[in-house]
Amino acid sequence: MTSRFDLRRMGMALSAPVLAIIVAVLVTSAILVAAGDPVGEVWGTILSVPRPRVVVAIINAAIVYYISAVAVAIGFRMNLFNIGVDGQYRIAAFAAAVVAGEGWLPGPLNILLGLVVAMLAGGLWAGIAGLLKVYRGVSEVISTIMLNAIATVLVAFLLRKVAPQTGSNIVSTKPLPESSHVSGLPLIPGVSREVYGLIILAVLIGVVYWFILGKTRFGFDLRATGRSESAAVASGVKVKRMVLMSMILSGVVAGLVGMPLLFGQDYAYGTTFQPGLGFAGIAIALLGRNHPVGIVFAAFLWAFLDQQSNALQITAGVSDRLVLIIQGVIVLSVVIAYEVIRRLNVRIEQRRVAQALATQAADVKEGAPA
């Protein structure tokens, strides 16, 4: 019975996203038709089998998105809305780039140092919001919005202080020593592009996230607090500490968001370092239902749409901003589909409970007179 149950559940879990994607395609097509854009070419471009180099780009984007989404998800699991991943990872990437750029330690150790610095910086920056919330009751929604903007100014200021004068139009930290580059993995045959070596980091983060949340006492406490703060308090969870801890933890992971970019692509933190990854992380975490595996799918879907839409301008003559509409519609239709299916599940569960109870009651009646 359990296995049938699980199969049904899996079917349900899969049917929701599929349904949602179909709805998203329909809605977007309707928009395209209304605007008089070529529907066929648009879908032809987006849904085409990606070329190998695009596959690499998709994987690389997904790696970064994944880390960002996990950072956001840690907060969500606690009912904390960390809008500040954006600022946290930029502060962290900057700090890591500065420290690793000095090349104080040899090769891999230097990379490790960079990662640790990033985690510290991200954790500290998020910790400000955590402290403000715990001790001053400041909503983390506001404080993280503010801290994002402050991070922007602060990093720009510090960057100018530390950047070597090169006459370049891109202000960057001192480039990492060659030995601190994390070499890519030639996972996809037929292209010279490589998948970020720090994909390992993403996998590790996923596993640790899954393990801590699902297997440890800390994770149990965290989930309990997210589900019902009052019940968690009564069960002995120190909620203030949990808030601070999970905010910091979220920041620590956020700190790692920029690392694949730093060690695998840019080799320095500069003014063109990709911003906005934190916001993508919010949508992806929600889409993946804050689940370590769900987020993998969400991150890939997001990266796939992002990368495939790059070609829209050139092949279909349609603004690639269309992809934002598709992504928005997907998010909405996925959650609506999940909601519909969740309600269905609740009903089924209730029916099962009621039926089981009915048989129990019947058994009792038929058995010994109570």
């Binding site: 180099r53 695009v54 780009a57 690389n60 984007a61 930029r90 903007a149 922007t152 100014v153 990093v155 720009a156 200021f157 100018r160 004068q165 006459g167 370049s168 139009n169 891109i170 202000v171 010279s192 970019l261 692509q265 840019d266 003014t271 063109t272 370092f273 990709q274 911003p275 906005g276 992002d306 990368q307 790059n310 070609a311 301008q313 050139i314 092949t315 690639d320 901003r321």
Partner: protein, 333 residues
């Protein structure tokens, strides 16, 4: 509207080119714009004007694509690569943000020729680095401002505090100080990278310029892309003057505010783009840095509106001194 935006470069561009020659193989040019793209009445539009001019003269097939705010490095690479895949083997990458991606894609496609505007960070046998001496042009408009100010207070509004924009600031300050060493120059940037909204936030441009005018400035120079519209609005409201940038904004800006524009620092991106395309058509492409400085006519000041006719002689004097090397304009403030 964009067609009419082509500044300065159009004179002489007739149908005299090779447009009619069917035998000649079509030249395929891919344009990768910076954020804002064609129609931004500024930097990208100037590049587009260069393309348009080349189109009018040469047998040209072109494809254009534009960058988005906050996009990934891979998106830029992919844009360039897509253009190449579609057969556009001569690429103009508009803006220094493309430096890294051009370096990479150019390496992977040695037969494709690239023009990279505003950056010397990517070098290669198939890359032409098109740069401009913005500081030299800015020096001239700085001098113009100093010559024209009645209050001895002038201003500079930068969109985003990047080295490129600081180059404008440095030249402007140097020019103004060269005329009046005691002049008071207010400087304000709208945002800090990676928040590039300072190039598109008219409200902020307006507030910043207003502040300067109310603090007694009577001329404000902007290097703030789209936010510059706000600077002009503020000038209009305060009944004072402003200086445009990149294009001759007395021709391209919103008609209502054109009369407040004292002069503009013209950065002839169109010439840079056109020259690149032409050099390929003529099979004279050379890799490496190609500096469009004052001497090469890559930057200049505009005279539309006649507001600086009276000081033109003095400005040209400075121009000569810069060209001759008598004056060296700093690139950082």
């Amino acid at each position: 509207a964009c067609g009419s935006d082509t500044p300065a470069a159009t004179p002489g561009a007739g149908n005299t080119g090779t447009g009619g020659a069917p035998a000649a193989e079509q030249l395929k040019v891919g344009m990768a714009y910076d954020v804002g793209g064609r129609g931004d009445q500024s930097f990208n539009d100037a590049a587009a004007a260069g393309l348009d001019k080349a189109k009018a003269e040469l047998n040209l097939d072109s494809k254009e694509a534009v960058a988005q705010n906050g996009e990934a490095e891979s998106a830029r690479e992919e844009r360039l690569q897509q253009l190449i895949d579609a057969g556009y083997t001569n690429i103009v990458a508009v803006g220094f943000a493309y430096a890294q991606s051009v370096a990479k894609v150019a390496g992977e496609n040695p037969d494709v020729k690239f023009a990279l505007i505003d950056s010397t960070d990517a070098k290669g046998d198939n890359i032409e680095n098109v740069t401009f001496a913005e500081h030299e042009g800015s020096f001239l408009v700085g001098a113009a401002a100093a010559l024209k100010t009645k209050t001895n207070v002038i201003g500079f509004v930068g969109g985003v505090e990047t080295p490129l924009i600081k180059k404008f600031e440095a030249g402007y300050i140097a020019g103004a100080k060269a005329v009046k060493s005691d002049i008071d120059i207010k400087v304000q940037y709208l945002t800090q990278p990676p928040d590039f909204s300072g190039f598109g936030d008219v409200a902020k441009g307006k507030a910043a310029a207003e502040g300067m005018y109310q603090a007694n400035a009577d001329i404000v120079y902007h290097a703030a892309g789209g936010s510059g519209g706000g600077v002009f609005q503020a000038a209009k409201a305060a009944n004072k003057l402003a200086i445009g940038v990149d294009a001759d904004q007395a021709l391209t800006a919103d008609a209502a505010v054109r009369d407040v524009i004292l002069t503009s620092m013209i950065k002839k991106v169109d010439v840079g783009v056109y020259d690149f395309i032409k050099s390929i058509a003529d099979d004279k492409f050379t890799a490496g840095e190609k500096s469009f400085d004052l001497e090469a006519g890559g930057v200049d000041y505009s005279t539309t509106g006649g507001k600086i006719d009276d000081i033109k002689a003095q400005l040209d004097d400075y121009k000569q001194k810069i060209i001759s090397g008598e004056i060296t304009v700093p690139t950082t403030p």
